[in-house]
Amino acid sequence: MSQQTYRLAVGGHIDRTRPLSFDFNGKRYGGYVGDTLASALLANGVHLVGRSYKYHRPRGVLSAGSEEPNALVQHGTGGATDPNFRATQVELYDELVAASQNCWPSVSFDLGAVNSLFSRVLPAGFYYKTFMWPKAFWKYYEYVIRRAAGLGRAPDAPDPAYYDNMHVHCEVLVVGGGVTGLAAALSAARADARVILADEQCEFGGGLLGAGEQIDGMSTDEWVAQAVAELASMKQVTLLPRSTVIGYFDHNFLTIAERIQDHLGPMGTPDKARQRLWKVRAKQVVLATGAHERPMVFKNNDRPGIMLASAAQTYVNRFAVKPGNNVVFFTNNDSAYGAALTLAEAGIKVAAVLDVRAQPTGRLATKVRDRGIEILGRHAIAAAMGKKRVSAVEVMMLNESADRLIGTARKIACDLVCMSAGWSPAVHLFSQSRGKLKYDANRSCFVPGDSVQAERSAGAANGTFSLAACIVEGHEAGLAAATDAGYNKNASVPKAPVRQEIEEAPVDPLWLVPAKAGEHTNKHFVDFQNDVTAADVVLAAREGYRSVEHLKRYTTMGMGTDQGKTSNVNALAIFGQVLGSDIPDVGTTTFRPPYTPVTFGVLVGRDVGELADPVRRTPMHQWHESKGAKFEDVGQWRRPWYYPLPGESMQDAVNRECLATRKAIGILDASTLGKIDIRGPHAAEFLDRIYTNGWKKLAIGRCRYGVMCGEDGMVFDDGVTARLGENHYWMTTTTGNAARVLAWLEEWLQTEWPELKVYCNSMTEHWATASVAGPLARKLVAKLTSDIDFDPDNFPFMSCREGAVAGIPARVFRISFTGELSFEINVRSSCGRALWNTLMTVGEQYGITPFGTEAMHVLRAEKGFIIAGQETDGTVTPIDLGLEPMVSKRKDFIGKRSLSRPDTQREDRKQLVGLLPVDAREVLPEGSQIVEKVDDKPPVPMIGHVTSSYYSAYLERSIALALIKRGRSRHGETVQVPLEDKVVPAKISAPQFYDPEGVRING
């Protein structure tokens, strides 16, 4: 195992008593609990971590946080591997395995790097300009391009982890647990508001963790510990470390992705979720998300060993790692001087500090100077040397206006370059909340403008960079948020902490280090991950892509996994320079969720596998299962499709089920049908308006079939409705439409006809329904019933009775969907299974046979009964279906007016017919199209299609229902049905094939 030669002897937040070992690119290394993969690699002197997307340039660690564009790794193995993990965010655990990605055969020797040789022919958008000839070759070009696509690899097996979701409400959500966020949370919580504090890092403290300053005479570590302890002691506070607020949506709805077990690796507990998504509805939000340091844009600024100044400081202070031995700083603001001091104190040689500003005057700069470190005013790095690790920098003077390098170049050897081009507040969530940014020219950054939602930004996220001011602003924001949420209006903000404020000199932006005379900016990287250079930005502007959004899409700037956190502002500033526009006029691209990428798994939570979507079960479901039924999905219901006996094919089973029903008794679980109880003095009037036919004259105890349309006149649902009392009806609907029909009725009642006194209640779930059909059905039910008179005259077709069936109170309807004598027996759901059992046991002597939806479909098709959604598709009127007699002329009903529009009156509309293949053994596939004659050349005019088609065992032939243009006037004609391999002639007929006179209905 390699030694951690770059580990400092003391300090840091790592736990030296808990050493860990891990594997990177097949090599073993050591680290400690508290390390990230990045800090551990740096501790081992590993700077080359990955390769860039397009040119495969060697890349190292740029940052210490979630803004990292370069150090992306493939983490883990097998089904639990993760592509594109940022090494700077991966917490080290024992036996962690990671590898560089997008390189082959290895990160050190990567063949893809040949692209780099061609980089000059591959500027932004090159692919739009080539690969067009010869035309047929594009697919080969694309094949090659695709092989080069992507960064890491997807897992090749299902995810072993599970995920969780959690809804939560709070008065104040504080995003970011740096000093600002901690202060805000304290103030809000002290006012008794329910507070959630979320931070994406494993510890609270934010920038303070790397800073090493003093607050109120305490070390920053002590200050943080005290704040966290107080928050933890308050029960109205929820602390969420390792939790990234990823999205800020409408009406203060925010999502937080918590990484519960990622840092434990495979050692996590299987009973706990890997990650959890918090769905927060916050009354108020405080955004204390800090700021991102910007890189400098100079030649070869992407070499491993070149990093952000604050990151280097964090590696020293928080991780006790020396990122190098000999460092050159390059800055345009004072914050880098703090880092320089930290590094110097850690024993790292600071070779020089280059400052864009002529005379750095801040107190920190003075301190650095006092240590005898060379500060070079108005200097810049002209280029970095070294390939897989920076080895030196070439330093030159900037002219007065900083648009030219002048003087002679001086070479300074180094193994680390720390850069700081100023800070960009993390305004992502503010922007997602729809807030508009404003540009602050003094601080050279975009800051939040006016709030649109109940939200406020504070601290570095608000462009406030001094520690003392951050604390004050945090407290104020927290208290104001609590107050606005209705909590403790007279609490006060603690007085400003005592801390010697460090005067800072203003930042002087230098967006692009000019190329040396005769050179170009095509190695000046702006977007590291997508290899976008300053030259690409210039090219986009030259070619007319003058909107920042065009710039983004043409160059792919900001479209990588980091979404340009460190690069966007640099890019648009350079773009502005080329176009001669001010930065605020150039504007930013749109900030979109998520703040950092988030697993699909956590978005979905536990709604996977058997919980992906409910499966609705009837009270008899288990019986069907135990009999080996095959099921079909109908909406969320799972209904028995057919019940194969051992050795039976589907067709065998369906034939048997159909014949049994026609000849003896079949039994169907009809519990899924919608049942709606309709009551009130205006119930009949209401039904008159809903259905196409009339309802007022229906006698009590009788049933009627009805069809309902949408206002467009198209059939929407159908079913039988019974009149149970003077003001009491019982409507049935199709299985799939049960909820929609109830909602439809309520909508009309509540919104359009509030004067109608009607109440509708769903009874679907209260009742279980067994439908027994067949010539022997009466025998069976009569046998099980003593208090209903089954005599056909006393219990005629289309009527209903109440009584006890098999000892269970029941509502029995004599209606029929099969054409046979049939009774629908409804009992309370809890008794459904008992009823079914009894019917099966007692029915055995009559040959009772359970049948599924397939047999039901055959039986009703033999009768020409339609199924809404099969014979109809939203373009079919009741008249098309031949139901004209049911369409009232006397009253209005929903959709009536639509039936007299020119197109619904057209003579050649498609109408429902029967279709009999000339070859009686030929079962037409449903969905077949029907033509007059088959031409050899398309398009072939189609006159209709097959809606239902089966083999009818009873009729010993195939039958079908179809919608055919002018069909009703064409009975007897022959049409053609072209199939894949042949054309089947079929004869149009009336859509009733079985018992057209309806005798069988009486048994």
Binding site: D250, H251, F253, E747, T751, D892, R897, S898, S900, P902
Partner: protein, 94 residues
């Protein structure tokens, strides 16, 4: 996800509700008397404004009541909620 104030149940998440489109489209009294164009107007033509929109929602997974909402279609800000039999807020043009 919107937060909608049901006039009865108070603030609830959008997913408890179903949307019913533009409000105050009154079904014509005597449809048979309308021309095809007038009927098409009732059936299909919608204001679809950019800005304040009067619309209907139903608290489908709650109290099952329909009610009206004034919502800005650009910002999604809800500026009024009123029951079916109540008048729209005066600020909005109907």
């Amino acid at each position: 996800m919107l937060l909608i104030k049901c006039p009865w149940c108070g603030d609830r998440d959008e997913h408890e509700f179903s949307y019913g489109g533009e409000a105050h489209i009154v079904r014509p009294r005597d449809p048979e008397k309308l021309t095809d164009d007038q009927w098409a107007d009732y059936l299909f033509m919608r204001k679809n404004p950019k800005g304040a929109h009067l619309e209907r929602w139903v608290h489908a997974h709650g109290c099952r009541r329909w009610f009206n909402v004034e919502r800005d279609t650009v910002t999604h800000a809800i500026t009024a909620v009123y029951k079916m039999n109540e008048k729209p807020p005066r600020s909005s043009k109907t």
